[in-house]
Subunit: 421 residues, 2 copies
């Protein structure tokens, strides 16, 4: 038997949550543990208390709302995502996963749906890392012992506590944690003893579902990626007084390198490969000075480690060339292998999608999510919902209430399948 979530209730949650951090152009800025984030968290608490869920916080301000199941010895099934956003982000990234988890619990409570396992809706703290870097900070902390060695180093608790606000450059994540009413007990953290598995719903953040006319995505993996930094060293000289042929212009050099990377990587001929030079730092960044320093990021994602290696070879090769007279260094920031979701949970989601009758497809996740770190600790999987125009991390980000509700319905039925196991 298949259950359904409520379009009306989902729409109301979307409208309500979209107010908290309204940035004025259709989206939000809702940094973790900010007053705006607290509004979203309080809304979560209020609505979950209203259906009789037990509310708990852990020491890194993750929130857990749990409806007990019929078997007192059964482990919890958790549905989790985040309430925080990037600067001028949208109303769906993260919060859709929280709202869907809430919706599942509300549907279960409203329709008295029998279930053996306790069902938990969870809010992750600081997934975006947009105020206190890095992204996925708190799932990194909570899953620390299970992470692969080369990722581990990035998420040491002590280091994370010292992460400084990108706004004031001074206040720390530790201070934000100490100040929040949502800080609780470390023993409440997501863990293997008390939890059986985790589901996360997210918007696709790309145009694949929309282009294919599908509402829901059954996600099989998170693409492997690497993130490198190319650094260019030249010489600051005066724009008006220094002859062109003697200059070492790092911005010209970096521009040449960006064009070169596009040309060479595109030659590999893999249209599903994505790579991005999204961040650039320039010194002194003054219109009357030739810049003596530029660095930029390159982020590359694909399922195949062999193809990623080929791209990496091109990236690393930049260090052997001169760019407008400038030296180039290539530095590894991090990389990760493709993470495949638990096959059993994936099957529940696919079956639930099939039974629902909604148009769906299997697809990869190009973005990282907290679920990815959790997958090292316990069985985990993800569901995607169609994103209008594939837009995300920007204010026009949009998914229809219908698609959001369909996603929640697939989640509900997949969770109930996991509950029966």
């Amino acid at each position: 038997m298949s259950y359904e979530c409520s379009l009306e209730r989902m729409t109301d949650k979307i409208q309500t949550m979209s107010k908290f951090g309204d940035a004025g152009h259709g989206g939000i800025t809702r940094y973790t543990l900010s007053p705006e984030d607290n509004m979203a968290r309080n809304e979560f608490k209020k609505r979950m208390e209203a259906i009789g869920a037990i509310i708990e916080y852990d020491d890194v301000a993750n929130m857990y709302a749990t409806l007990p199941g019929s078997d007192p010895d059964a482990k919890r099934i958790v549905m989790a995502s985040h309430t925080d956003s990037v600067k001028n982000g949208g109303n769906y990234d993260g919060i859709l996963g929280v709202m869907s988890a809430m919706e599942v619990l509300e549907a279960v409570a409203d329709q008295n749906i029998p279930h053996k396992h306790p069902l938990t809706a969870m809010v992750w703290t600081n997934e975006e890392g947009s105020l206190y870097p890095p992204a996925m900070m708190v799932s990194g902390i909570v899953c620390y012992d299970y992470l692969p060695e080369d990722i581990k180093g990035k998420f040491k608790y002590e280091d994370m506590m010292k992460s400084k606000s990108v706004l004031d450059g001074e206040s720390t994540f530790q201070q934000a944690l100490d100040a929040t009413e949502f800080k609780g007990d470390k023993k409440n953290r997501l863990n293997q003893d008390d939890y059986k598995c985790m589901f996360e719903i997210h918007i696709e953040q790309g145009p694949i579902l929309e282009d294919a006319g599908n509402d829901v995505g059954v996600v099989d993996c998170v693409l492997g990626m690497f993130n490198y930094r190319l650094r260019f060293y030249g010489q600051t000289v005066h724009a008006g007084t220094f002859p062109m042929d003697k200059r070492q212009d790092t911005l010209f050099g970096a521009s040449q390198a960006i064009c070169y990377l596009h040309e060479e990587i595109d030659k590999l001929g893999h249209p599903e490969l994505v790579y991005t030079t999204g961040e650039l730092v320039l010194h002194p960044n003054v219109h009357t000075c030739v810049p003596d320093y530029v660095d930029f990021s390159i982020d590359c994602r694909h399922e195949s480690p062999e193809l990623r290696d080929k791209v990496l070879e091109i990236v690393k090769g930049c260090a052997d060339k001169q760019w407008a007279g400038c030296k180039c260094e290539v530095e590894k920031m991090w990389n990760r292998d493709t993470v495949y979701w638990d096959k059993t949970l994936f099957g529940y989601v696919e079956d639930a999608a099939k039974e629902s009758g909604y148009p769906y497809q299997v697809l990869h996740s190009g973005a990282g999510h907290d679920a990815q770190f959790v997958s090292y600790m316990m069985p985990t999987t993800m569901i995607f919902v169609q994103s209008k125009d594939g837009l995300s991390h920007c204010e026009p980000e949009y998914s229809t209430p219908e698609h959001c509700t369909e996603g929640a319905t697939v989640l509900l039925n997949a969770v109930l399948k996991a509950d029966k196991e």
Copy 2:
């Protein structure tokens, strides 16, 4: 008869002034009216009072130290430059002109050199505009009535007072002026009735003198220039989830445009033409996002208006092209014609340089200086001193004490020629 300045006294001034705002790598950060700038200003005041000069301030905190001449009706001859610096600038840009003016007055006092006209050493406020933009702000204010119409608009007194600190984005130039002890009376401003002409010594900020083995430059003009902004509009999408062929990547587009500009402008085949893309703004500037907005500056300088127009045609043509799927807009920030110095004063400097026996040459100034605005109000000219490696606006900026003293000696003798007129 030819007089000489003192190497010992000049060296002492250089060493003393270099302490005020010491940025730790050989240079200084000395924003206008900052505590560090006040130290330099007090040093100026102390040393000028020590030789009996009369100290005056005007309403925009310019400082004037005057040694009376033998003719009570004669107008003043002023030697002026600035004490402020860019961030992590050097120990010579600006302050060399102030120290040379001080040195001339000290030599005159020390050697009892007869002179008819009062001789004034002057400190301009906020030449760099590095804390409160724009550059040459205060000479723009003081010479306002004499400026060409299209420059005028940039330097309205009321607008300048509202200029906000680039550090805190809030405090204004007006507030800095109101707080300084160096604010005086508007009637003390440099003016046509009381002043006969102005000289300014500056470091070359380029490698031409050094490459030619010349110590001193006799400057004939400030090169005409234009400053435009190219703006690129695309779409922010997620780095991991959005296919390459649907992207509108503004940083890729801007990189292509920078490479295109170099290629096309270099085809014009004028090695003495200089152009610079020194400033770039990127949004959202996050490694996981394709940037939806980039703008960069292009600064171009050459004596010939015809050649500048040819370059401008290339720059403006960028708006007619697509750059990685992004729209481009080209916006004029400002331009200025080549400003030629007063021929008589130029002759005095050239004669003084010739008589000194120092290796010298005639050259253009590629950089803008306060002298340029003053030249619309009264006869004005400039002298350059060799810059090691042509470096400027950076901490390694360097000129030898010997070259600095030679420059001051040329200034002294040129001023005495003007005094005899």
